[in-house]
Amino acid sequence: MSEDPNIIAFCCHYCAFTAADLAGTMRQQYPVNVRIVRLPCTGRAEINMVLQAFVDGADGVLVAGCEPGSCHFIQGNLRAVKRVGQTKKLLIEAGIDPERVEMRHIAASQGPLFAQVSREFTEKIRQLNEEKRMAPTVAVAQGETT
């Protein structure tokens, strides 16, 4: 099995972060390579925060917020859905598989779901890494410095 991928999870304080905490309390196992960044709301997740995570070496980014209709800030999670959609387009332009970023809705009470999503996402990213490792590298001709 290939190396554990680096996963950054931007989690909303009011739901997914609490769910992650609950997952721990419930002794649920989830991959240690998922690093959580707590946000006040997924509406705080700027597009460039996600891109920056990739620049800094993340293999996958999970944005986890409240279920539609239950955002503490009314619609921060819906804004996050849109931004994740836009981030996918920007990643495609940069030649990166858009599947490497994902938006999930996890309520505060869903500790086991957080653990499950973390496992599934880690597995998916591990597979993408594997496919990429097997694929031939693309070289682009570069002009001279002027």
Partner: protein, 223 residues
């Protein structure tokens, strides 16, 4: 404000890839408001360029920096000049004015535009901007209920509407409001609809770009 949109990524990346070190220069005025070339958008493009160069094996170092305005010499401070000098080329996230101003200022550097400059417009709602002024050099909107027929009528008719106006929409595209319907409606609200009977004479277009590139001089404030 000036409204612009980012160019397709491939076009920007192709230009960036001709060099090894580029400065991505954002602008903090109009293009920040229309969310095309401000600090945030500069950050996004910088990240994309870094990711794409890593992914495609291109040796490219990207520095990002945003100044208050790219159309005013005073904002090109020492830090900006140093960053420009340390780079092989500049990718300007300013409007066309900013790109040229930057290019004039640093004649030994190629300055690429990252945006397509579209029009003088207003914010209709967050994320939606629309054309309102054509910069014709001789404003006449008062005669048309505050609605510019030059910028907002597809045919710039001063004696409209044309025969294509239907249900308040322009014949060029049903998504576009007929400016002349709006002019008529607003003049009615103002109780001035009878003024529209008056035939507007030919407009003097020499104040427009037809008279060549324009310069405004305000002698009392010149140094």
């Amino acid at each position: 404000m000036i409204v612009a949109e980012r160019k397709p990524f491939d076009e920007i990346f192709a230009n960036a890839g001709k060099h090894h070190k580029v400065l991505l220069l954002g602008c903090g005025t109009c293009v920040t408001v229309c969310m095309a070339g401000g600090q945030k958008e500069t950050g996004v493009l910088a990240s994309q360029l870094r990711l794409a160069s890593r992914e495609k094996g291109v040796d490219l170092e990207v520095t990002e920096h945003t100044i208050t305005r790219q159309c005013d010499a005073e904002f090109f401070d020492d830090t900006t000049s140093r960053l420009v000098e340390e780079s092989d080329a500049v990718i300007s996230m300013g409007c066309g004015v900013g790109v040229q101003f930057c290019s004039d200022r640093y004649p030994n550097k190629t300055v690429y535009p990252a945006l397509n400059t579209e029009f003088f417009g207003a914010t209709l709602e967050q994320g939606v901007w629309t054309e309102r002024c054509a910069g014709c050099g001789q404003c006449i909107v008062d005669k048309f209920g505050g609605i510019c027929p030059v910028a907002r009528c597809s045919k710039s008719l001063l004696n409209g509407p044309c025969g294509g106006s239907a249900d308040g929409r322009c014949e060029i595209n049903p998504d576009v409001d007929c400016a002349w319907q709006k002019i008529y409606d607003h003049m009615e609200t103002l109780g001035r609809v009878d003024e529209l009977e008056e035939i507007q004479p030919l407009k003097d277009w020499s104040h427009n770009r037809d008279g060549g590139p324009r310069t405004v001089r305000k002698e009392d404030v010149r140094l």
